[in-house]
């Protein structure tokens, strides 16, 4: 085996290899050419015909900050806030928005007992929408009172009815709204409290961007004009059962917190299980690392030892001999 390896050109006999490499190099050059053409044509288009600025780019706002008790790795729900949020949803939002993935029995997590859940769902005093069913005698479509085992019935029977009642806009289901929007709960809160008049300088800069008559200006919405009219307009719109003052800001916060729960009912369990698993894995990893170190540094491992001139004994001999002969190094 040669002691040192130098650069070696590929074996001359590998004619097929060379052919392959030339072919592939050619292919690569062609792709690079296509990309270069794309680059230059794109830059040319941009600089000769720059796209017009959009109102949305300049006037869209990032969500306001919202601090919830469920934030962070140790977050927990504030049950009282969730109950208030449920009240806001029931009395304000459920007129247009469904909550199809949540069952009434899930509300036990908010601190209600079985009887309260049954009363909420079926008594008609709080939750008013009934569940579609068929008449057991005639077979005609009819409705019945909700049971705890039902999911929240929707305000509209289907998408067509929902659009017909809302100027052809479809109010989205709210079960997962805080997981399906960038900005999560802070976005929902900002949207609910962000309705305002279109600013004058927007109209000056973009005269074509006047908010159409059926839409409402809201800078927290991606294209600034939202089909939903402001749902929370006055303080005291809802009378909280626990006596908290129902300002618009408070109602928006509470319903946002509630919608975090509807999207992530597993949150508290997940954080608790996570703590146990992470803690366990930390200990297991440390133990496994110590075991590994011990195996690798045990006396049984065959070690590689310096030999010949590098053997420490021989090196000592060499340096002694050198010192005697008064040779440097």
């Amino acid at each position: 085996m040669p002691p040192k390896r130098q650069l070696q050109l590929p074996a001359k006999g590998a004619g097929q290899d060379m052919l392959l490499r030339w072919f592939l190099g050619f292919v690569g050059a062609i792709f690079a050419l296509a990309l270069t053409f794309s680059l230059f044509s794109g830059l040319k288009t941009y600089f000769t015909n720059p796209p017009a600025p959009l109102a949305a780019e300049e006037f869209h706002k990032e969500p306001k900050e919202l601090k919830l008790s469920s934030d962070g790795p140790f977050g927990k729900f504030d049950k009282a806030q969730l109950q208030r949020g449920l009240q806001v949803y029931t009395e304000v939002c459920s007129a247009c928005h469904s909550l199809k993935l949540v069952s009434f029995r899930d509300l036990k997590a908010l601190g209600y007992n079985d009887a309260e859940v049954k009363a909420f769902a079926g008594s008609g005093k709080q939750w008013k929408i009934e569940v579609p069913t068929i008449n057991p005698d005639t077979g005609e479509a009819s409705t019945r009172k909700a049971l705890p085992s039902d999911t929240f019935p929707a305000p509209f029977p289907n998408e067509v009815a929902a659009r017909a009642a809302n100027n052809n806009a479809l109010p989205p289901d709210l079960s997962l709204i805080t997981k399906s929007r960038e900005g999560s709960a802070a976005y929902v809160y900002s949207l609910l409290t962000g309705f305002q008049n279109q600013p004058a300088d927007l109209l000056k800069k973009f005269p074509d961007a006047k908010t159409p008559p059926n839409l409402h200006y809201n800078p927290y919405f991606a294209n600034l004009n939202l089909a939903m009219p402001p749902p929370l307009t006055t303080d005291g719109q809802v009378t909280y059962a626990d006596g908290t003052k129902a300002t618009v800001d408070q109602m928006a916060k509470d319903v946002s917190a509630f919608l975090v729960w509807t999207a992530q009912p597993d949150l508290e369990r997940r954080h608790a299980a996570g703590l146990a698993v992470v803690f366990f894995l930390l200990i297991a990893t440390i133990l496994a690392y110590l075991a590994k170190q011990q195996i690798w540094h045990s006396d049984e491992r065959p070690t590689v030892r310096e030999t010949g001139a590098l053997d420490p004994k021989n090196r000592a001999k060499t340096s002694r001999a050198k010192a005697k002969a008064k040779v440097a190094g």
Binding site: P10, V27, S38, G42, K100, D266, K292
Partner: protein, 428 residues
């Protein structure tokens, strides 16, 4: 493998003897992952990622099988079966879903590190070309599996991702559109596509497992590579896989699973896209369709081709470039024929390698972000570099570079820490 000093299997326990006489599985395991497989003693932690990939394949298969017990593969029921039934009602359903979702991402993280290890240390070079190519087959199967799995929840990104990816095939003239319709079983992703994707998504991981066995088998013929790229010469160069590398793999797996647990339990939706929590709507396209992060570099290459060059239109260029960017990797053992394997001893190659890493990261960034003129330009430069790197630069570098002197053996490199410059190295 053919190392003469590999310890032979000697079963002590009578049950193991009985089994081994009738079906030599214990012998096989001993020779593959036990005390009977000599492994270079100088492996660094980049060699842990192969086993780690196997761990995540297992996690995905197990969580996938239990999720399939509750999932409805219907266009009407799929979204609710995932987001209502599994996430809320099934016992521990939320845990299984988040574990499976993030397990896919972590599987790709591990595999990408594993691939880049191969690129740097020349693991694709003779005699391990087939190991490399089987690995690429595994990667292609993983991408197909992940794509189909992402369609199953039938959210907005599921649907539109399916629309875009099956749309690639319509770029091909004449046969493209018929192939697309054949794949979907219809003109747009719908029930037919969903059920067949479910069937194939369940099947492919087991095909992957089979190819993994071939991948490991083909590796064990020449034996594992090592950071110096120098072949194993004698017993001094190796250690038995068990207990040294079982212990090393074990603790590192614990550490990696810790990171996996942190993501799964505390930020489970961080690597995903919020739009997939909106039920699929064939009539409304999301503002920015993007695939999952592990496809972003290829998505950037796809979107970079915007010019109709020669008689091929931009859409077809994009599709060809995207498929080409993966297929060219099969040719790597012939593009880079330098007899020096490891980047540690190839200073020029090393510089280009790091350029490639930065290039792929840039491509990933461009692929996941909304389209803006300067990002598109950046992506086009990065995509061009990618092709030039593998198809032009590497062959030239490997033919003309000056490599550093290699150590004489693995044990010598272990002694001196780096490339040995010992004038006299006497073995024994």
């Amino acid at each position: 493998m053919s190392f003469s000093w590999a310890k032979p299997y000697e079963p002590k326990h009578p049950v193991m003897k009985w089994l081994d006489e009738r079906l030599p599985l214990p012998r096989l395991a001993y020779g593959a992952i036990g005390g009977g497989y000599p492994v270079p003693r100088n492996l660094n932690y980049f060699w842990n990622f192969g086993v780690l990939a196997g761990v995540f394949l297992m996690i995905q298969i197990i969580t996938g099988i239990v999720l399939a017990m509750h999932y409805y593969a219907t266009a009407d029921g799929a979204f609710n079966s995932v987001n209502q039934l599994i996430m809320r009602d099934v016992n521990a359903g939320w845990l299984l879903r988040y574990a499976h979702m993030n397990g896919a991402s972590f599987f790709f993280i591990v595999v990408y590190i594993h691939i880049f290890r191969g690129l740097y240390y020349g693991s694709y070079k003779a005699p391990r070309e087939l190991v490399w190519m089987l690995g690429l087959v595994i990667y292609l199967l993983m991408m197909a599996t992940a794509f189909m799995g992402y369609v199953l929840p039938w959210g907005q990104m599921s649907y539109w991702g399916a629309q875009v990816i099956t749309g690639f095939f319509s770029a091909f003239p004449v046969i493209g559109e018929p192939i697309r319709v054949w794949l979907l079983g219809g003109y747009a992703p719908d029930q037919a596509a969903l059920t067949r994707f479910f069937s194939l998504h369940y099947l492919l991981p087991f095909v992957i497992a089979g190819v993994v066995i071939l991948h490991i088998w083909s590796l064990h013929i020449p034996g594992s590579g090592n950071p110096t790229g120098v072949d194993v010469k004698d017993e001094k160069d190796t250690l038995p896989f068990h207990p040294y590398y079982t212990a090393k793999d074990g603790w590192f797996a614990g550490a990696f699973l810790l990171i996996y647990a942190l993501v799964t339990f505390y930020v489970p939706n961080y690597l995903g896209h919020p739009d997939n929590y909106i039920p699929a709507n064939a009539l409304a396209t999301p503002a920015h369709i993007v695939p999952e992060w592990y496809f972003w570099p290829f998505y950037a290459i796809l979107r970079s081709c915007t010019f109709n060059l020669f008689w091929i239109d931009a859409k077809l260029w994009g599709v060809l470039a995207m498929f080409g960017s993966i297929l060219l990797l099969f040719f790597l053992p012939w593009l880079d024929k330098s007899p020096v394997r490891s980047g540690n001893y190839r200073p020029l190659f090393k510089r280009f390698f790091w350029l490639l890493v930065i290039d792929v990261i840039i491509l990933g960034y461009v692929g996941g972000a909304p389209i803006v003129w300067w990002r598109t330009a950046l992506g086009q430069v990065a995509a061009a570099y990618y092709f030039l790197h593998f198809l032009v630069i590497l062959p030239l570098v490997s033919a003309f570079e000056t490599t550093d002197p290699l150590p004489n053996s693995i044990s010598e490199s272990v002694l001196s820490g780096d490339a040995a410059e010992t004038p006299v190295a006497v073995a024994g």
